[in-house]
Symmetry: C2
């Protein structure tokens, strides 16, 4: 009976770093071969990293990627790995133009064996929604590519191809495919893992094929690829899954499409949503730091929950030694804020310092005669100047600690607390920040560690402390209510009347929608941060700054 | 012989402001009717403004737009204009989903007569390159819509439809179309007017049809629609053109597709490129201010050419009374800078004030022990705090005065001189800034006015004045050379080797490319500003922040 040992190589490429990505791929093929594999499957664009965005429009980059692929094939052969079949994703120059496309590239999967590329598949369904611009960047391919290995037929598909009807999926039956190899660059979203598994199971059952689904892993700007590669046999049974949020190499023995065995056992179920979200945020932050070569991060510690959570995330991502926290009290800062900030630093063990902003505020306030909102913003901007000064001196990446609810309604000072290169919790609404903080502390307790987030930061009413006795709820509805309206307006994209019909008070709805729309210009200038929801602010939600808000949200 | 008087209604809609846009359209129909017109043609999405971006994904907005269209038809009828045929662009809910599309909207042109919509055309070719995301936002239409008026056949097409082969254009001949009505939302780009005219002439000749081409006018975020609507007869002869950069209503008598006469004469040629660019920048800035209801603008006046040009643009856009300039000298500011800033203000007549940053800089410098680049950036950030404080107090829109060459190489301080809601010259490379300044001064002289830009600001070597005797050319190559390399890398999207092959020094090319790539995160947080080139920074050029720059630019 034919038997193929298949390795699912879940790697973490860096966009554009073809050399290092292929070195990593080579090491994975070598390791797979040592474990007896005859076929190694990588993720979408594992050669180039993903998404490459408008690098797809740079002809010289496409040519160098194709050259690197040829060289990789030769290297495998010359180093004794030519007998392994390797399937890897990469960009390529499109051979011909297609009507209604302005792209010059294709998103490909090549099959390598015996020192050369023996076949190439180009992605057919090009996602052009949410964060994706693939119709902008790629020319669609048309035909399935099928190859035979020890009596079994393998066909390649790429990511969106299995989420849509029609196209090459419809050619699976006539091609007598036994096992579909799906190369993916599928970003993490809460609950998406369940969708992927049921989609793959459905694909397997309806086409009577086994499905090997490899996803990338790693953070890339605002996206986090979570890995979680899976293998499903032709009955739709889940045979095994790779780890989430780390590189992984997992082996399967394929006797036939119905008989597939994992060489080693793996966890078949996933952690709860909060643990997964935390994992995604940590990976997104870590990879932004490491892939951009920052030595360290710095953030303001206010004693509030947002900065305490960001400090904990940063520590989980890169270790406390590389995390710098600065308390920057003003005359409106309460005693407990300063104490909570210090407590947060002490629990985590990060480098902590204090720098009062009072003298700076006074200097500007007096000379410019500022008051009211201008004075509140001034305080936030003094803190920004301090953080950026320290960043410019030491090379720290500045983290900005705003949450999604604040970003939505513009409850932040532009060029103040919004400054920074990365926003770890920008896609986390306030009510979820609380849940994550509680989960992280419980997780620490369960593991016999100090809970990293001060209990007081979790339990006290949130305040920006920019004027005496200020509370967030002086300006905003309770966060439970606010997040409910934001979910309707931002996530569900409902209009005013529809939101009111859900049972929310019309005046509150109108006020929140106006705030959201008016903050568009601020969000446009905001830092990137990891997307974990269906509609993150950024390229996931593209709205005009200039508009009549009242009518466009009706 | 049949005869139709056609009005080309070139209007300036505000995105989302359906009520005001339709009031404006109604007034245009009324005026056209008074001038004897029987047919009025508006631009693409004149009902909703354009582009609506992801408002196209808000179902309630689409429904309200269609309702407004029905109401508009009834209003025309009830106010005695039902006999006029009106063709207007608007968004609509797509009636059915289409494969490989995630959109729910269509980009339509409806024909109204007798109080109702008598026909609807949906745009077929959906631009999804450059700044456009129409494949993201719209479902393509398929069939040409043709209607008859006094013995002549009119067909509608929308913008990109005539820039691509195939689709409804191919149906023109079989439909016996006499006159094509093309609704456009075509943003200004240098030299694009010539492309449009020759394209329209080619369309006319190859299909033996007359073409009425109406473009929108107005600024919308980073786009400037320049109007310049045209009418070409079936021989390809230009019969007339509407004004550029202003609303216009132009009338034509159509006896047949070969015999069309402009009711009034119009300028058939265009001003030179510099005058057009200046016009585009003025309109883009004016509409951003007015459509977002800012009372005034504020900017830092350094005595340098960039801020002097921005002050002049702002004055041309909204008048000197609404322009506030602030000189913010430091100990490194030269005497001539302060004098040139004051001269710039005096020539223009704007509100001028001076605020030294010295005491603020000293306070931070001492307490934070900053030096080198951190200290240079600190100065720029002190100026930002001042401008934002004044903006928060008085409601001014802050203008940031960086040019495209600086933005490209990151020669600016983030949260410093980059702060602001609008960047009037962000798409103008430095060498073009000089040309524009000289043109504007000559234009003033020719018209007997004071040249608005100090000669000294134009002629002196550029300096950021952040340390003693600093000049831009200490850090950067000469701007002529820099702009040449930037053109190759940014506009032409060439790789390193290709750029060196053009004759540039390899070391300089490498340095400039590294600077451009490393500044990506700063540009991502930058203000929007009017696009006038083929590749403006912003949504026109979408590149990852996290990447291996060396390899991705090879």
């Amino acid at each position: 009976m034919p038997k193929v040992r298949l390795a699912l190589a879940q790697t973490n490429p860096l966009v554009g770093d073809i050399e290092a990505n292929l070195d990593g791929a080579f090491a994975a093929v070598r390791a797979a071969e040592k474990s007896g594999a005859e076929l190694v499957l990588f993720g979408e664009m594992a050669l180039s990293g993903y998404p490459i965005e408008d690098l797809a429009a740079r002809e010289s980059f496409l040519i160098s990627a194709e050259q690197a692929l040829e060289d990789f094939a030769k290297r495998l052969e010359s180093e004794g790995l030519g007998h392994i079949a390797v399937v890897i994703g990469h960009p390529a120059l499109a051979k011909k133009q297609v009507a209604r496309s302005w792209a010059i590239a294709q998103n490909c999967a090549s099959v390598i064996r015996g020192g050369k590329v023996i076949g190439k598949y180009a992605k057919h369904h090009l996602p052009n929604y949410s964060v994706f611009d693939e119709y902008r960047n790629f020319v669609p391919g048309q035909d399935l590519f099928t190859f035979e290995l020890q009596g079994l037929n393998f066909s390649t598909l790429i990511c969106e191809d299995i989420w849509q009807n029609g196209g090459p999926v419809a050619q699976l039956k006539s091609s007598n495919t036994d096992i579909v190899l799906v190369l993916n660059g599928s970003p993490f979203e809460v609950d998406k893992d369940d969708k992927r598994l049921s989609l793959v199971q459905e694909l397997a059952k309806s086409n009577q094929v086994a499905v090997a689904y490899v996803n990338l892993v790693g953070g890339q700007d605002d996206l986090v690829f979570d890995g979680d590669s899976i293998l499903v046999d032709s009955s739709g049974k889940l045979v095994g899954r790779s780890k989430q949020f780390v590189e992984d190499l997992k082996l399967y023995d394929i006797a036939s499409k119905q008989e597939i065995y994992a060489v080693a056992e793996s966890a078949m179920t996933k952690p709860n949503d909060l643990e997964q979200i935390w994992g995604a945020l940590v990976l997104g932050l870590r990879d932004y730091v490491e892939k951009n070569n920052f030595p360290s991060v710095i953030l303001g510690l206010s004693g509030g929950i947002d900065s305490a959570v960001c400090a904990s995330l940063a520590t989980d991502a890169i270790g406390a030694k590389r995390v710098f926290g600065v308390a920057m009290p003003s005359k409106y800062s309460s005693e407990h804020s300063i104490a909570d900030a210090a407590d947060s630093a002490a629990r985590i063990g990060l480098s902590f310092s204090t720098q009062s902003i009072e003298s700076f505020v006074t200097a500007f306030e007096t000379e410019l005669q500022l008051s009211g909102l201008a004075l509140e913003n001034l305080q936030a901007r003094m803190r920004a100047v301090i953080l950026m000064g320290l960043s410019n001196s030491a090379g720290h990446l500045v983290l900005t600690t705003g949450n999604k609810s604040e970003l939505a309604v513009g409850y932040s000072t532009i060029y103040g607390d919004s400054v920074g290169g990365f926003a770890p919790i920008k896609d986390i609404e306030k009510t979820l920040v609380w849940k994550l903080a509680k989960w992280r502390n419980e997780f620490a307790t369960l593991n016999g560690q100090t809970p990293p987030i001060p209990e007081n930061s979790i339990s006290k009413p949130p305040s920006a402390e920019l004027r005496p006795d200020q509370l967030d709820q002086d300006s905003l509805p309770e966060y439970e209510l606010l997040d409910g309206i934001l979910d309707a307006y931002v996530e569900q994209n409902l209009g005013r009347a529809q939101i009111v019909a859900l049972g929310f008070d019309a005046a509150v709805v109108n006020r929140i929608i106006d705030l959201v729309d008016r903050a568009e210009w601020k969000r446009r200038q905001g830092a990137i941060g990891p997307k974990i929801t269906g509609t993150a602010f950024g390229r996931d939600r593209r709205l005009p700054i200039t508009k009549n808000s009242k009518q466009s949200s009706n």
